[in-house]
């Protein structure tokens, strides 16, 4: 194969595909990226056998062909080259790279050893703007369970139904649900592995605002597709827990607080939390006041007061401040609603004026 392309384009390509490489130790070929020159373009493919990323970049094709290269070396090398034309040529099993004053020969492995990337034959489910998809994923991805003990919650649920698309993640201590009201005809739900979602967010953030992502689903597989990039991944088997009943609509105590103020108060008070990250909220509706209190026998203690619109019963509840912050950080409205139903039932945090996001958080036992 032989092709000439710009360092900038090559660099972008290797950065898109290179991130998932290097996690498999048994099969050396998986540390490589597959370079293919075909149909006037250079194609880069990487895989970790759970997902595969394909990237196409334009170039001046002289001869078609393919080879695999160690990803780490290739990316370090290309990233540091000047932004000029790069000439790439294969000779036997090595790659000759020429760029301005640099000339190098990199040893590769025959492309025949590279895993064959499965194809998704299923139909297209929908097209969605890259930015929207990325935002929806990023708003919930951090709540995903990191342990594999319950595989069904070790990924993000996407629930397609006639009213819209729901993105849900939970680690059984808190749960985030993001709803995009996009019309679509398919009714299905899939659980996407956490790593895939993280990778997708990373790739999508480099995409243009108006770029469309097409989603295709086949049994056990999902494909995200833009004109330049394809990401295929396995899906997690299993039934997602029936979480909807956790999101109660009515509250014994209802608080409307200033988001920034609340966030700041939690941050300050959390400095004094003990090892279990506990933060005590005492809600006093009569005074329209929340007392936030934390204490550690070795550090000291802190009490903060927060004014807000508060209705309903007086209640005292303990939350993990990390979980509280995670929720608040994913809300960007000026005001937030905190709904509570006693000290042992989950609290609900949601933005005022945006019905698309709900955060459910379990308290800590008194």
């Amino acid at each position: 194969m032989e092709i000439i392309c710009l360092q900038e384009n090559f660099k972008k390509g290797i950065n898109v595909v290179g991130n998932i490489i290097g996690k498999n130790l048994t099969l050396p070929i998986l540390n490589n990226v597959l370079l293919t020159v075909e149909k006037k373009r250079l194609r880069l493919i990487s895989t970790d056998l759970e997902m595969a990323i394909t990237y196409w970049t334009p170039g001046k094709v002289k001869k078609e062909g393919e080879i695999t290269m160690p990803a780490k070396l290739l990316s370090d090398f290309i990233n540091n080259l000047p932004n000029k034309k790069i000439e790439i040529k294969t000779k036997d099993n090595s790659l000759h790279i020429k760029c301005e004053n640099f000339k190098s020969v990199v040893k590769g492995i025959d492309s025949k050893e590279f895993p064959i990337i499965p194809k998704v034959r299923g139909g297209s489910i929908l097209k969605i703007e890259a930015l929207k998809l990325k935002q929806a994923f990023s708003q919930v991805v951090n709540f995903t369970s990191l342990s594999d003990i319950r595989p069904e919650i070790s990924g993000v649920l996407i629930d397609f139904n006639s009213e819209g698309i729901k993105f849900v993640a939970t680690d059984s201590f808190r749960l985030g649900e993001k709803t995009l009201s996009i019309k679509n005809e398919t009714k299905t739900s899939v659980i996407i592995p956490l790593r895939t979602v993280q990778e997708l967010i990373r790739i999508l953030s480099e995409q243009g605002r108006d770029e469309l992502v097409e989603i295709l689903i086949e049994q056990n597989q999902i494909l995200f597709k833009t004109p330049d990039i394809q990401l295929i991944s396995r899906l997690i088997e299993g039934t997602y827990p029936n979480y909807e009943q956790l999101i109660s609509k009515q509250f014994e105590t209802n608080l409307i607080l200033d988001r920034d103020e609340f966030l700041n108060t939690v941050k300050i008070t959390s400095l004094f939390s003990s090892k279990i990250n506990d933060l005590r909220l005492k809600v006093i509706p009569k005074k329209s006041l929340v007392e936030i209190f934390a204490q550690d026998t070795e550090i000291g203690e802190n009490t903060s007061e927060l004014k807000g619109e508060i209705k309903g019963k007086e209640v005292e509840i303990i939350f993990n401040h990390k979980y509280l912050l995670d929720g608040l950080n994913n809300i960007d409205s000026n005001k937030v609603i905190l709904g509570l139903n006693g000290e042992t039932n989950p609290g609900i945090l949601k933005p005022v004026g945006d019905p698309g996001f709900v955060y459910v958080i379990m308290p800590i036992k008194l």
Binding site: T47, P118, Q245, D278, M362
Partner: protein, 460 residues
């Protein structure tokens, strides 16, 4: 040759002809799914493996297969994710048996504990799958099965009774969950009798009796737990009686539980009692040792953990009657495992469970028994030791003897001596008489239980 053996031989051959890395990557978690008329279906863990085996290794695999059997014509590949997930799970379990991510001690509450369905009040944690069936509860379980099959028809109403912590609530909730799962249009309500009483009281207070009536009478399956607590609450009983009749007439399923048979529930209105007695009554007894071990194992399996059999045996043989206590003991061990990241040794187990197992025997004294019995029958303690043969004194005296015998394991001569210097044969006669009486008369048994309760409440 089984499919497994066949595949083992094939794998053995392939292992020799390809590199170790490739072998591990591509042949891990593969197996032969079926072998029919020369068509072999091989299950593979993911799409990558499928593509690879189909395109790169199909020749080697075919060749290896043909070496074993000439009839094999075709091989095909299917993706079987479940296998992979299962084996991954198993591997995890073996690798870190002690790293418990289950929050048994964690102060942080999680959703699992509270996934009670608001509409039905049922907790999905209880299912028939994790209900261990053995001789002590098989009647109840079998009856439950037929209730699930045709709610409202075969066993209606269905009455379960048995002691504390032996799985009544579990069975009740499991029936509800199963019916809900199979027939989502059915309206199922699970209430404790306390909740029912509260509802009645607050409905009376608010003057919304009609609303309550309507609510309870539109239910398809009504499950009431611990019905014995309705005893003595007359208005609630009346309301329950009407609800019961309405549902019963409309062929709606009613399921009740109690800690004693209907006959033995004191101050239950006669018309209710007679209704309860005309129903399918199933009792749950106490689990035997083997069953207790099975229960512990099921529990552990649910949590995805492992514990050595010796520990389970120890728990099961020492906590004998109450399944809830059994789980309590197990939780203690698990908490220890979690805190220390190690499996406790036998002597540590004994230490951890000391509080639960050597539950100090409730102590009382002969003086106390005499005092309480006298108080209960409203007579002077002296009367018990006196010589009088009045009927109203004889019975209490015999009860006192019976209790001395069974609660304190006193000898007959001792009993006789303490109750006015009587002969030991008198004591023997008294104990036998009371035992007989107890068997024939449930309300008398209740009476004895009440005295026992007083006995231990006073001393403790």
């Amino acid at each position: 040759m089984t499919n497994e053996e066949l595949w083992q031989i094939v794998l053995g051959e392939i292992e020799l002809s390809i590199s170790k890395a490739s072998y591990i990557t591509w042949f891990k978690n593969t197996n032969v799914l079926s072998n029919k008329d020369g068509q072999i279906v091989i299950s593979v863990p993911n799409a990558f493996t499928k593509e690879w085996l189909e395109n790169k290794y199909s020749k080697i695999i075919q060749k290896a297969l043909r070496n074993i059997s000439k009839d094999i014509k075709e091989t095909s590949y299917v993706i079987n994710y479940k296998k992979e997930a299962e084996s991954a799970k198993k591997k995890k379990k073996k690798k870190v048996p002690s790293k418990l991510e289950v929050s048994i001690l964690d102060e942080q509450l999680d959703f699992n504990q509270i996934t009670v369905d608001k509409k039905t009040n049922l907790n999905p944690r209880y299912s028939l799958d994790n209900f261990v069936v053995a001789s002590f509860n098989e009647l109840a379980h079998a009856a439950a099965q037929s209730v699930i099959k045709s709610p409202g028809r075969t066993y209606n109403p269905f009455f379960i009774y048995g002691g504390v912590g032996i799985g009544k609530t579990h069975l009740l909730q499991a029936i509800g969950n199963k019916i809900a799962k199979e027939n989502s249009s059915k309206k199922i309500i699970y209430v404790s009798s306390e909740k029912f009483t509260d509802d009645v009281i607050s409905a009376i207070a608010k003057g919304e009796m009609d609303k309550l009536k309507n609510y309870y009478r539109k239910i398809d399956v009504l499950i009431i737990d611990d019905i014995q607590f309705l005893a003595g609450k007359e208005k609630t009983q009346e309301e329950f009686f009407h609800t019961f009749n309405t549902l019963y007439e409309n062929n709606k399923q009613i399921i009740l539980s109690s800690d004693r048979p209907p006959k033995a529930i004191p101050t239950l209105e006669e018309r209710l009692r007679s209704r309860f007695e005309g129903v399918m009554i199933a009792d749950i007894g106490h689990p035997d040792l083997e069953t207790r071990i099975v229960i512990l194992k099921t529990k552990i399996k649910d949590l995805n953990l492992e514990l050595p059999d010796e520990i389970l045996n120890y728990i099961a043989s020492n906590v004998q009657t109450n399944i809830r206590e059994l789980e309590g003991a197990l939780n203690r061990i698990l908490a220890f495992v979690k805190l220390n990241n190690s499996i406790p040794a036998q002597n540590q187990v004994v230490k951890i469970l000391k509080n639960i197992i050597s539950n100090p025997q409730k102590r009382t004294t002969h003086k106390n028994i005499i005092k309480i019995v006298a108080e209960f029958y409203d007579i002077d303690p002296k009367d018990l030791t006196d010589r009088s043969r009045k009927k109203e004194l004889v019975k209490p005296r015999q009860v006192a003897m019976y209790l001395l015998r069974w609660e304190l394991k006193s000898s007959y001569p001792f009993i006789g001596a303490k109750l006015g210097g009587r002969d030991h044969t008198t004591a023997i006669y008294a104990c036998e008489k009371i035992t007989k009486e107890k068997e024939n008369n449930d309300s008398f048994e209740e009476e004895l239980n009440l005295i026992r309760q007083r006995l231990y409440n006073y001393t403790s």
